[in-house]
């Protein structure tokens, strides 16, 4: 049975959530449930119990802390569609359907850790940090490196993702994804850009087993921004850096090509924003 009461905890604070998790070490954490529930129905995941974060008010909403924006892990994606960081907003806007966005949380997206998930390249480009909380305290880690394989993260046993922290320094940022449909699709490939003080930072989704960025690509992207390199240079650099999967949706060759196109498009948008291009 899915919802037998003793196996189901509905804590109201982070502290209660951590104790509930400690009492049920095999339980699955559920935030919006938009990943967990289909997985259970499709029998690709089993659960010995559930700890729901739905009532943990402290995990919802955004606040400022110095020069960082703190986004609670339980904040629904729908609340981020107008976020100041353009990449975050664009990734939120193109995630699922209105119904899904209302339930889906940013934390669930991050912890799902699948390379095609919307938030991942956006957070990598934005150089986000993650706040992880456990019985023994709180630690903050870079998002870069948090995902180690598809679906696998450095989140510890009994640990919760409590917030995503983003630098608030002004920048241009954006996110794009490609798929076969015009809405409600998993990204065939995706990319995000941050351009700040003439320097470009790009990140890619479904370009390898984990969200991917590369210094070599950013050097060429920055050169493209100020006219020292051409689009073909950036495409070549991207093609070298990425290692996309091959599946029934698209070939690896298509993905490699499309990632270069997206990178170029994003840099062109950054150029326009900076008043450099047309």
């Amino acid at each position: 049975m899915l919802l037998a009461a003793p196996r189901f905890a509905l804590p109201e604070t982070v502290g209660e959530a951590l104790s509930a998790l400690a009492e049920r070490p095999d339980a699955v954490v559920v935030a919006g449930g938009t990943e967990v529930m289909p997985d259970l129905l499709w029998r690709v995941r089993t659960a010995a119990g559930f700890v729901s974060l739905r009532r943990v008010g402290a995990l919802r909403g955004t606040s400022r802390d110095g020069d960082e924006l703190v986004v609670g892990a339980g904040t629904p994606v729908a609340a981020l569609v107008d976020a100041e960081a353009g990449a975050l907003a664009a990734a939120a806007r193109s995630l699922g359907t209105p119904l899904v966005r209302t339930e889906a949380t940013i934390g669930g997206n991050v912890v799902s850790a699948l390379p095609y998930r919307n938030m991942l390249p956006a957070l990598l480009a934005l150089d986000a940090r993650l706040e992880l909380t456990s019985d023994t305290g709180r630690r903050t880690v870079a998002f870069d490196g948090f995902t180690t394989a598809p679906g696998v993260t450095r989140l510890g046993e009994g640990e919760l993702l409590t917030a995503v922290r983003l630098p608030t320094r002004p920048c241009f940022s954006d996110y794009v994804k490609i798929g076969r449909r015009n809405a409600q699709y998993v990204a065939t490939v995706s990319a995000a850009v941050v351009s700040r003080n003439g320097a470009v930072r790009l990140a890619f989704g479904n370009a390898g087993p984990v969200p991917l960025r590369s210094d070599a690509v950013d050097v060429v992207a920055t050169a493209l921004l100020d006219g020292r390199a051409g689009p073909d240079d950036l495409r070549a650099a991207v093609a070298d850096a990425v290692d996309p999967p091959e599946d029934t949706v698209a070939s690896a060759a298509y993905r490699r090509h499309a990632l270069g196109v997206l990178a170029t498009r994003l840099v062109v948008r950054a150029q326009v924003d900076a008043g450099l291009g047309s």
């Binding site: 049975m1 899915l2 919802l3 289909p38 129905l41 499709w42 029998r43 490609i178 076969r180 449909r181 015009n182 809405a183 409600q184 699709y185 998993v186 065939t188 029934t248 698209a250 070939s251 060759a253 298509y254 090509h257 499309a258 196109v261 997206l262 498009r265």
Partner: protein, 699 residues
């Protein structure tokens, strides 16, 4: 020739009578049928594609709290008829396809039933299976007939000779993918077996026809018709997959008989629908077309290779539209099948015409380009005066008018024929056209009862509303037949306690049921005049003898599409899609539009998105859910328009209707493919058209 009804209520865009109930959620669908303490049924499915079940261990499932019964291929009741092997539920230990039902669990809740089903342990003697369709297989065979009874092969003249001497020829192979019907409402049944006396079975079922469904269930279970009632007031779509009962209905009935007196609920999951509820075969179409310099066809041929399940033969009539669509002295159509270890394929919206209007309609586009003739004009030049297949005159045929009006509305005139040369921003832009066709059918069996009750007319017939609008359109026909305001008519449908009605299939529903209603109304007036007494009633069937046999009756249409392809990524968008149809009298423009645009969207979906991916190693459709089996979404549809001509056809039936449920899907995918070619210069002959198929050759 029939005397056509004077349209007064017919032709009005009345709102759906069941609309408010549906929007409020009070319309009861099969699974929601109120029942006291219902038991829930879950299925155990084979995990091998071929073999034999050697043992089933049900101990762990039975030990689970709340489990009421576990039934397997070794313990199930023996059915009266196993003639239809698809419906011979739990009668054999042989496994013929992956996903075949080998057991069922009954439990207090659906969660318990599913958990218990997971705990049933099945052991197999697995055997190698064969699930790959290829045109070069050496074991393709010739079926006796193709659905529903057409000749398998036809030939006239000498296609090869015409191809050898023609000014221009097209000779290519086209393919369509496997498609699953995927109505929004899954296949679901609430079943109750009342053991009193000889027993009575009630099935609240999601079906396209309560009477045909009852007939099948009675035969399989060996029950007399008056001991079975099938009820289906509202159906959330079927697209053919609820046109014949599938094994889930038989299983629900068997499950109910395990728990006499207690209602049992069985709904297929979306994933189970991919192996148990039918689907459309993939097709491989070798198309040959020959023409003179003016574009007049001297030959047209289609040789189709497709599949059937070994369990039960279904031969899709893919080549049939090529037999009648265009004039040509030399013609050939053939169908060959590969019999595979796969689930049973069956009807899906416009079986035959839907895949069969892809290859030939793209081939004509290729021919038009080769000859430098506009593709609209090419079709007009090949308009046959009579049905080329039978020599019969058309009951009415307005394809040319549809093409002309569509071209006008779409802004086709002055179109630059060159492919791959128009750019707007980063988009390559093109337009395409294709014809649509669907035969006009009327079934033999339907009876309507009309009774004068408390100042109003009640019309009873076991017809179905599968989202098509029958609740609303049948009263419009009855009102005109009785010459009363539509508000004075109440219809009662969707239940075998009403007089017999044919299936909602083959776009024949309203043609057939409406004919019965008109007959009954005329007989009623003949008997009781215009001032009947309360309780006066009349029951009359369709007059099969009056059915016109001297004309070829079809609905026609033309579809126009604008496609945009991103020059860098190959992403495809369809901002405009316009259809013009000549489909007889339109009874209700509001519900009709919804049929046309729904079917056109389904055709767009076939062109760009839908594709059931079979893994030949496991005999399993891997993308068996709506997350991965992509259907076009709202954002994929741009300016979508359906128009129709006021067509007056005196030969088809008393209403002059031709049926509109299926024609919209025919030709749609070809129009999209032709537009994508015109945009890019890349001719994709295999559906769906994907980004990576276009990309390597983009200009």
């Amino acid at each position: 020739m029939t005397e056509l009804l004077e349209p007064r209520a017919m032709g009005q865009g009345l709102v759906r009578r069941d609309g408010v109930a549906k929007v409020r959620g009070t319309a009861t669908y099969a699974f929601e049928t109120p029942a006291e303490r219902p038991a829930h049924c879950a299925l155990v499915q084979a995990t091998v594609a071929r073999g034999r079940v050697t043992a089933i261990d049900t101990a762990a499932a039975e030990a689970l709290d709340g489990v009421l019964a576990v039934v397997t291929v070794f313990t199930a009741e023996r059915l009266a008829s196993v003639e239809d092997a698809e419906l011979a539920a739990l009668q054999t230990a042989e496994v013929a396809f992956r996903g075949q039902v080998v057991g069922l669990v009954l439990a207090e809740t659906s969660e318990t039933a599913r958990e218990a089903a997971d705990l049933v342990e099945v052991t197999y003697d697995e055997q190698p299976h064969d699930s790959e369709l290829r045109a070069d297989r050496d074991d393709l065979y010739t079926p006796e007939k193709v659905n529903p009874g057409f000749e398998t092969d036809t030939a006239e003249g000498d296609v090869a000779a015409a191809m050898a001497t023609a000014h221009a020829t097209v000779d290519h192979t086209y393919s369509t993918a496997t498609y699953h019907n995927n109505p929004l409402e899954p296949h679901a049944t609430t079943a109750l077996w009342d053991p009193a006396g000889d027993g009575f079975l009630t099935l609240w079922d999601s079906t396209q026809g309560v009477h045909p469904s009852r007939a099948t269930v009675c035969q399989v279970l060996g029950l007399p018709q008056d001991h079975v009632q099938v009820v289906a007031p509202h159906v959330g779509g079927g697209f053919g997959s609820k046109g014949t009962p599938h094994v889930n209905v038989v299983l629900a009935a068997m499950a109910a008989r395990v728990l006499p007196g207690r209602a049992v609920k069985l709904a297929l999951t979306r994933q189970q629908m991919f192996s148990l509820a039918g689907y459309r075969t993939p097709t491989i179409q070798h198309v040959q077309v020959a023409a003179d310099a003016e574009g007049r066809l001297s030959a047209i041929a289609i040789d189709v290779v497709e599949q059937t399940s070994k369990v039960k033969e279904f031969a899709e009539q893919t080549g049939v539209p090529t037999r009648m669509m265009y004039a040509s002295p030399n013609r050939r159509t053939t169908h060959r099948l590969a019999a595979l270890d796969l689930p049973v394929n069956s009807w899906m919206r416009a079986p035959g015409e839907c895949p069969g209007m892809f290859g030939p309609e793209v081939a004509l586009d290729e021919l038009a380009h080769d000859l430098g003739i506009d593709p609209v004009e090419l079709r007009i030049r090949n308009e046959p005066e009579v049905d080329p297949e039978t020599g019969k005159p058309w009951s009415s045929r307005h394809l040319v008018e549809c093409l002309r009006e569509g071209a006008e509305r779409f802004g086709w005139t002055g179109r630059d024929p060159r492919p791959g040369v128009r750019r707007e921003g980063g988009w390559l832009v093109g337009t395409g056209v294709a014809s649509s066709v669907y035969p006009t059918m009327r079934m033999a069996d339907s009876t309507a009862l009309i009774r004068f009750e408390a100042g109003r007319y009640a019309v009873e017939i076991g017809a179905a509303d599968i989202g098509t609008g029958t609740w609303t359109t049948l009263p419009q026909i009855a009102a005109d037949a009785l010459d009363v305001p539509v508000d004075d008519v109440e219809v009662r449908i969707g239940d075998t306690r009403y007089p017999i009605a044919s299936v909602a299939g083959g776009s024949s529903g309203l043609n057939t049921w409406g004919s019965a209603v008109v007959e009954a109304a005329r007989a009623f007036r003949g008997e009781y005049g215009t001032d009947p007494a309360d309780g006066d009633e009349m029951e009359t069937g369709v007059d099969q003898a009056a059915q016109d046999e001297d004309h070829a009756a079809y609905a026609f249409g033309a579809q126009f599409v604008e496609a945009r392809v991103d020059a860098d990524t190959g992403e495809i968008r369809v901002p405009r899609h316009l259809g013009v149809f000549a489909a007889g009298r339109i009874v209700n423009p509001r519900t009709a539009r919804s049929q046309f645009v729904g079917a056109m969207t389904m055709g767009l979906s076939m062109a760009l998105h839908e594709n059931s991916l079979l893994d030949p190693r496991s005999g399993h459709v891997v993308n068996h859910d709506l997350a991965e089996y992509h259907i076009s979404v709202n954002a994929d549809v741009g300016d979508l328009q359906a128009h129709w001509l006021d067509e007056h056809d005196p030969w088809v039936n008393a209403m002059g209707t031709k049926g509109i449920g299926e024609i919209g899907i025919t030709g749609a995918a070809a129009a999209v493919a032709n537009a994508v070619w015109h945009a890019t210069g890349v001719r994709v002959r295999d559906l769906p058209i994907t980004l990576d198929a276009l990309l390597p050759s983009l200009p």
